[in-house]
Symmetry: C2
Subunit: 332 residues, 2 copies
Amino acid sequence: MSDVAARAGVSHQTVSRVLNGHPHVSATTRTRVLAAIAELGYRRNLSARVLATGRSNVVGVVAQNTTLYGPSSMVQAIGEAALSADLSLTVGHVAGYDATAASRRIVERLVQQGAAGLVFIAPVDAAGEAMRLVPDGVPIVTVDGLPEWQCANVSVDQYTGGLLATRHLLAAGHRTVWHVAGPEQWHGSRAREDGWRAALAEAGAIAPPMARAGWSAASGYQCGRMLARIPDCTAIFAANDHVALGIMRALAEQGRRIPDDVSIIGFDDVPEAGYFHPALTTIRQEFADIGRQALRLLLDQLATGVKSAESALVEPVLISRDTVKTPERIPA
Amino acid sequence: MSDVAARAGVSHQTVSRVLNGHPHVSATTRTRVLAAIAELGYRRNLSARVLATGRSNVVGVVAQNTTLYGPSSMVQAIGEAALSADLSLTVGHVAGYDATAASRRIVERLVQQGAAGLVFIAPVDAAGEAMRLVPDGVPIVTVDGLPEWQCANVSVDQYTGGLLATRHLLAAGHRTVWHVAGPEQWHGSRAREDGWRAALAEAGAIAPPMARAGWSAASGYQCGRMLARIPDCTAIFAANDHVALGIMRALAEQGRRIPDDVSIIGFDDVPEAGYFHPALTTIRQEFADIGRQALRLLLDQLATGVKSAESALVEPVLISRDTVKTPERIPA
DNA sequence: GGCCGGATTGTGAACGCAAACATGCTTGCC
DNA sequence: GGCAAGCATGTTTGCGTTCACAATCCGGCC
């Protein structure tokens, strides 16, 4: 920086002012400085800046398994939102939240690097523990966190999603709906299950036993092989689209036709869901919304300096395709 | 840090030594310092450290579309490899490499933050331009980059992948193989196409006209609707698994049975590919390998301080399932 | 004509850390 | 017994930036 200053014939402070867009710099000086910067190929040292100011406009994201469609979409959404808010993003990948040592390292890193705030993609219980490693001064927003964490949070309304899915199947004429849930450590799984139960209850339907899968097609297939042998099972609400795919395969192997014999509905609306065989009816989550909301909550905290626990809900929407019998529209 | 020093009754330098694991610190002093650190909840300021040392063990990753399975798996793989090499990772998400302003911002950020090295997930031509924004001193490794960039690179051997896929279909008795390629900006698309052509040539088969899709099931479906109407088309090599899914759907709608009427093979082996209907034969890429190799190349450069152009190839493997007729094993 | 205020620039210090050098102390060896 | 060699620790300096303050210059006003 002093090189630039010397070259432009000004003091280092003036260079700093130009760099930061301070008002009281004459036009001629500014152009001289900018020219010197260009000639020398100078780029300022962000570490020194952070050190001197004590703040940064870097947002840290802690994410667990970014190969899954949900988490990766969220990270992408947050990234895009951050870009338009002129914040930059650094993503820390945690192998699994249970591996506390690893997540501690990631969080420490992010904090030590001077992240202004953190977004936790925290869809599992263990994430609560990792969150506690964050020092008090740093604002946090969780995505898919729990209310009892007392933290600003944005979630998809998974409960309503479960409700929508189950009602849709009931409206198609099924007497009850079977549910293959996701891993119980995930908050979303539990909320969808609650929605499912609530929809059954309001229709006076009896809740059949619940199966539990991971998020993979493979685990869906395992569950599906059991369900396919149960003649009463004619309507299935699957944990997500890939689980639904696995179930569909198991049903097909058992000779049960979709949707004639069995109706099935997924969750997520992955891009390829409409091309499954048959095309999967599912519940879509609006990930772009999540990104925007999460960043808005974070910026609020940064601006006010107050740690809020405000939360936002993103509404899922039903995407009706071909895996549910008699696609009568459910009343809005 | 001086607080800790005062508390432990030593100088700040001794605290620094403990923190960095320097040899000449007595055991008693060390424990006293560590106790003081714990009591005060002290965490060192990484910016100051980077400023003072001039180096950091942070590697930056520049990635484009991390919602796609390929890129997201690579980032994950690199992340895991970095964790075990005790490096930390910050991922910069570029919306698209063409948006030069955006990618310039990301790269600048990463460099200014003091990244010791950069990994470019650079599967498209436009990435070459973004790479040129990186100052000379910073080592780079590309993933799926081009040889003419003169840069250390690790790629999946897409050419061999195309070769394997096409040979497999020919070995199943098909007279020729049709190819639905990915976007032409992607290097992988072109390499797979080359492999396809080479395999056809070595078998004396005539190359039919080539269709071009994106990476999505939707675009595969569009291509599939045309291919399904061509009676001669009995074997298809698809750009990736999702494209294959779209094609399969179009074929099914047209009443063409898989694999009886048409054989099809995908690329990637996404986790759910085995649960498509029917289960998809495909070419798997070993992403974990990519992560390890990329990091090894980067560490080499960091250690030697020399910008190398060494490159590594990761071999794909054929995963045989149910979408190719007469699953005779091809000779190894 | 002198004084005030705003615009523009410069000066010194501080941010938190590690590196280089300096110091006192212990050990081992002839 | 004395000297060299190492160990354990302290002191000083500088990394590149911003901040608080000071300084200069200019025009306008009483």
